[in-house]
Amino acid sequence: MSEVILEMRDVHKRFGDHEVLRGVSLALHRHEVVCLIGASGSGKSTLLRCANLLETVDGGDVTLFGQSLLDARIDPDLVRRHIGLVFQSFNLFPHLSVIDNILLGPVHALKRPHDEVRAEALALLERIGLADRAEEYPDRLSGGQQQRVAIVRSLAMQPALLLLDEVTSALDPTLVGEVLDLLRDLARAGTTMLIATHEMNFARDVAHQVAFLDQGVLVECGEPAQFFGAPREAATRAFLERVR
């Protein structure tokens, strides 16, 4: 297996009295796609947010390229420039045009020259078939288009890995396909991704590993064929039974 990019070891996270993550361990290798499944409230989003330091971790360790992110000398802003995060609700910036949404990070966080990034951004938009919408504002786009722009916005940072938090859950069923197709393309191109999702067929097709999170515990992790075909744990079987 290739180099480990992100590793979580025995991660605990508490909100007040409620322990959302109870000792989760997970490794993400370069070019690997891991799908994270589990019911709402099982801790998927929190796990993703702990990985890019949007949430602080209460116990355990998170490492990026072998460096502990819990080290006090770590700059969270630098960490986040290497980790893309895409949200369920897109969170595009409504006051900026599509192209400016994409340019914001590279220009104002990475301080890269505007013209150079602009050319790259247009190429990315070309790839998702939205180059002609570059100057429009997000509210003029459909949900599926907005989410694809949000994914491109993360990609423009050239991150080492991409975290995707139920990116199709807020979409009209007819628009889910175009977003999943984009993710399939990215997976084929070797993008490292940790994907929280409810789309089981997608997970089966695309994931190298599928991990099942239940009430803050990582119950089972395995290759899709084994995971969906012959789940080891009773809790996994019960969950798969329910979503089928």
Binding site: R80, L85, F93, H95, G105, H108, A150
Partner: protein, 296 residues
């Protein structure tokens, strides 16, 4: 089985206006509103003309000749022009509005800053907004206008009363406007902050590029509201002896024993604030329409 149209079936629910509301239905509604307006205005005018002191009030407050006289002023009699006084009010509030916007944003920014170095400034900013929103403006004017000159400091204590008036207005209104800005910043959806920080933007860059541009848009109507009341409060600077609209009207009143100058002053303030209130209302309506369309 067919029934002729227009004839209700026996079990049809009752769908008709009550007889009383039928009185105002359709065109009769226009007649009713016209009639009620005429009656109301007529009653007010009648009170004005028929009241025992009506004639005196008309003479002391609404004498066209005195109104004109006070408006243009008469240097020979030592009468300042109320119209000229308005210029003082206008430059005061224009200057103050610029300062208030800058300082208000600064105070709001400080209160929301995260750097540990800025902790004392955060505390100060909080105390400042609490204190100056709590003290009546009248008292702030006295404290600044009479207190600072009394300190006997070089330059600082030797400014004109108009300058102290502007200082007092800026101090008080900055406290309000800072809170308006802060509320606007909080009104921006938290997803925007998360998205910007996830791109690796610093706190400052996130505020400047993502949060503030959106906050300012929502904050414009309440901000204009504060500016309308600021425009009126420039009148209180007259307490420091600045000859602006109200002071000029007061001089006319005490010299000529006629208060029509105050009426002129009121009309001049209305001429300033009414366009502003109409404009604010239009902005609010436009903003509402945009939100109702469902732009989240």
């Amino acid at each position: 089985m067919t029934r002729p149209t227009g004839e209700p079936s026996s079990d049809a629910p009752h769908l008709f206006l009550t007889r009383r509301r039928l009185l105002f239905a359709g065109r009769r509604g226009v007649v009713a509103s016209t009639l009620s307006s005429v009656v109301l205005v007529g009653a007010l005018v009648a009170v004005f003309f028929l009241a025992p002191g009506g004639a005196a009030v008309r003479h002391f407050f609404f004498n066209p000749q005195d109104m004109w006289q006070s408006f243009v002023g008469d240097p020979a009699k030592g009468l300042s022009s109320v119209g000229r006084g308005l210029i003082t009010n206008v430059w005061m509030f224009l200057l103050c509005e610029v300062l208030i916007l800058l300082f208000g944003l600064g105070v709001a920014w400080t209160r929301l800053s995260q750097s540990p170095v800025l902790l004392p400034f955060r505390v100060l900013a909080t105390i400042y907004t609490d204190v100056f929103r709590g003290i009546p403006f009248l008292l702030v004017i006295f404290m600044v206008g009479f207190g600072i000159p009394a300190l006997g400091l070089h330059v600082i204590s030797t400014q004109s009363p108009a300058v102290y008036g502007c200082v007092a207005l800026t101090i008080t209104y900055t406290a309000y406007v800072a809170e308006v800005f802060r509320a606007g910043i909080f009104s921006v959806h938290s997803g925007q902050l998360l998205a910007a920080r996830s791109l690796g933007l610093t706190h400052a860059a996130t505020m400047r590029r993502v949060i503030l541009p959106q906050a300012v848009r929502t904050v414009i109507p309440p901000l204009l509201n504060d500016f309308i009341s600021l425009q009126k409060d420039t009148a209180l600077v007259s307490l420091l002896g600045v000859v602006e609209v109200v002071r000029a009207a007061g001089i006319y009143g005490s010299t000529e024993f006629n208060y029509s100058g105050y009426t002129v002053a009121s009309l001049l303030f209305l001429a300033l604030t009414v366009p502003m209130t109409r404009f604010t209302d239009r902005l609010i309506a436009r903003d509402r329409a945009r939100r109702l369309v469902g732009v989240s």
